[in-house]
Symmetry: none
Subunit: 406 residues, 2 copies
């Protein structure tokens, strides 16, 4: 972290103002030829967002660097005011934190899939037919009961959703500089895990033994008789939102990964935040007085973008629009609506395209925008900025930043 | 180069997509009071560029830093994805490379003019009446024949265009930290060349002796009886476009300096790329299958800007527009049109003004621009960015960048 980040930490002060950050995952998009060259934000009917846009300041966010397509981790870290180039979080640690596992310094976490393999160990289904979460829990118990430790390293096995689970390795001298075992394609055997660093040689030995031991336990079961491991990662050393911004923050999200990320930056994570957008927003109302900073995560704009479902992505935006009065009724002092990255429906994938952002507060200013759309945001008063600086504006609008210099 | 630049190198991968970078030198401009307060891009009639603009993403480039007017070297380095503050290339080395001279590590190159001097050595014409290239070649041979080496330092003398020539000094312990001898005005004697660094003392002695020796050879000739030296420079240590971006790149340009710059970043340089815009564009079609990255340089937008010839600058833009279908017919996957800097006709010089840029690809997005003009670019989806980041977008649009982070 350079001087530019440290300055904010020096200027920040606490007050009672409430900041609400509503992230519509993957919201940014590009004009779609099949839908009148509109983006989902342009296509959706959004009277409440339109009204808010007229009283807000707009801009475009660069999640990491110009042209760089981010994963969800770096995308969100930027929105939380962290430089995603400085803090890199592996999938293992994010998933573990999201499952509310208590990760200690020195632990190594890894994201695993149950998979199906033939008699030679060749993977025939990387997701074991997407077994149920209940089945996954059963298998994790079986593994836990049979394998307690390997070479003095303790194992903690925890089921996530469907075929996904997490293993935490706890012991001395562990290191996360390891390759993955996932061959990323069917018809291949799991790849032997290799140390990328001398320090990781012992860990490599442990995790490869773990694979063999698990196989012994489950190899005669169906359909989940193998496993794939990805994203070995240690707990990152990252200062909390309280440390950096004096914010008492809370996460309202459904998916483990976003909860995990929030936990790692010191947010309180609400376990059952809501099953749909309306419930998430109502949870905010309940908690309004308890925190300074609310992160609300809406997942399905991204999922529908990844599925190439333009219409459904627009519909999720309309759902958010419809539920927006729930949030506005509580009058958060600062309200920001944006995304962690773009997921254009035409591309069916995350992309590098700048993300629309709008900030509303008593003194946000306004820039003549009539709607919250990509092109209106191009002309916005915030200009185009890296996501990591957006938090500065949220703090500023919440009157939480002291003046710099005399 | 910091983390931010290295990230791209880590994310980049090769594929078959073709990137075409069309540089209209000095294209950026400001409204001209004698031409309806239009810029040359606004004044020109450009149906093909207009059509492309409607399907492209636009922006403004800052060549080096806000407010900084760049030379052509830094202007182009930025466009090629290099930080022009990190890599500085002297005029000598650029010209030498452009003349296809084989420059080795340790060599020092300098750009020279033949000049006219009176009996006291006072310069009466800094360009010796712009003698012909043939005359220049004749004089260079004369010098080569008469002066082989000075204090053990070998000399290589090569004619460029008109009165311009290059000298390469080859030997041990040479250093380019030297002042110029060009007084930059007539009525003065050439300035004695001074070492800016102790390490350059020997080189200063050699180059001053060289001046004296050349004078002995040519002082009784007319009109070219003296010489001026500018831009002493060693070969820079610069990674190639292949090293950094895995791009097999080619330069289509007419002027030695642009060829030289391209060669220094590892591009293949086509010797006779074309005598006019149409020929340059046709050469691209011929080579389309052979390279991944095509740099096409159009010089006369800049020359006319420097001459203050607004109408002629507009006409060059119209020529580019007319020839544009030649490029488009080959359907490059990514096409970028921009400039290395602005050269406002009203200023008759390079300037600091942001440079319009537009990028077209299958997934570029579009921002409602109707034409490729400075003001339309102000509202573009790329925002305003440093030129060195533009390459990121070209790579992204060509699907040559992996995702960053989980």
């Amino acid at each position: 972290m350079d001087n530019r980040d440290h300055l904010i930490e020096k200027l920040v002060m606490q007050n009672n103002q409430k900041i609400l950050l509503l992230v519509m995952d993957g919201i940014g998009d590009i004009p779609h030829k099949d839908f009148g060259k509109k983006t989902p934000l342009e296509y959706a009917i959004t009277p409440n967002l339109d009204k808010l846009a007229k009283e807000s300041v707009m801009g475009r966010l660069i999640p990491v660097l110009p042209g760089v397509t981010p994963g969800s981790g770096p995308g969100h870290l930027g929105l939380f005011g962290y430089d995603p180039l400085q803090y890199q979080m592996g999938r293992g640690i994010l998933e573990a934190a999201g499952l509310n596992m208590n990760i200690k310094d020195g632990d190594i976490a890894v994201r695993c899939n149950f998979a199906s393999a033939d008699e030679n160990g060749v993977i025939t289904d990387r997701r074991a037919g997407r077994i149920s979460t209940e089945k996954c829990e059963e298998l994790c118990c079986l593994i836990s009961d049979n394998i307690k430790e390997i070479d003095g390293v303790q194992l903690i096995v925890r089921a996530s959703m469907q075929h996904r689970f997490v293993v935490v390795f706890r012991g001395q001298n562990l290191c996360d500089r390891l390759t993955d075992s996932d061959p990323l394609a069917e018809g291949k055997q799991p790849v032997e895990i290799k140390a990328l660093d001398d320090k990781a040689a012992f860990t490599a030995q442990v995790v490869n033994k773990f694979y063999q031991e698990v196989r012994k336990v489950i190899q005669n079961l169906k359909p989940a008789n193998s496993l794939l491991m990805r994203g070995f990662s240690a707990r990152p050393r990252i200062p909390t939102m309280m440390d950096r911004f004096k914010l008492n923050s809370v996460c309202l999200a459904s998916y483990p990964m976003y909860k995990g990320l929030s936990k790692l930056v010191g947010m309180t994570v609400i376990d059952e935040a809501g099953k749909n957008i309306e419930e998430l927003f109502q949870k905010y109302c309940e908690l309004h007085n308890k925190y300074d900073f609310f992160f609300i995560h809406v997942k399905y704009t991204d999922s529908n973008g990844e599925d190439g479902n333009f219409v459904q992505k627009s519909k999720i935006i309309e759902e958010v629009d419809k539920a927006l009065p729930i949030l506005l009724e509580k009058k958060p002092n600062v309200m920001c609506i944006t995304g962690d990255h773009s997921t254009p429906a035409a591309m069916k994938a995350h992309s590098w395209h700048h993300v629309p952002v709008m900030i509303n507060s008593s003194y946000c200013g306004a820039d003549g925008a009539m709607r919250f759309t990509e092109n209106e945001c191009n002309n916005g008063g915030l200009g185009t900025l890296e996501s990591k600086y957006m938090m500065n504006y949220l703090l500023a609008n919440a009157m939480k930043l002291n003046k710099y210099g005399a």
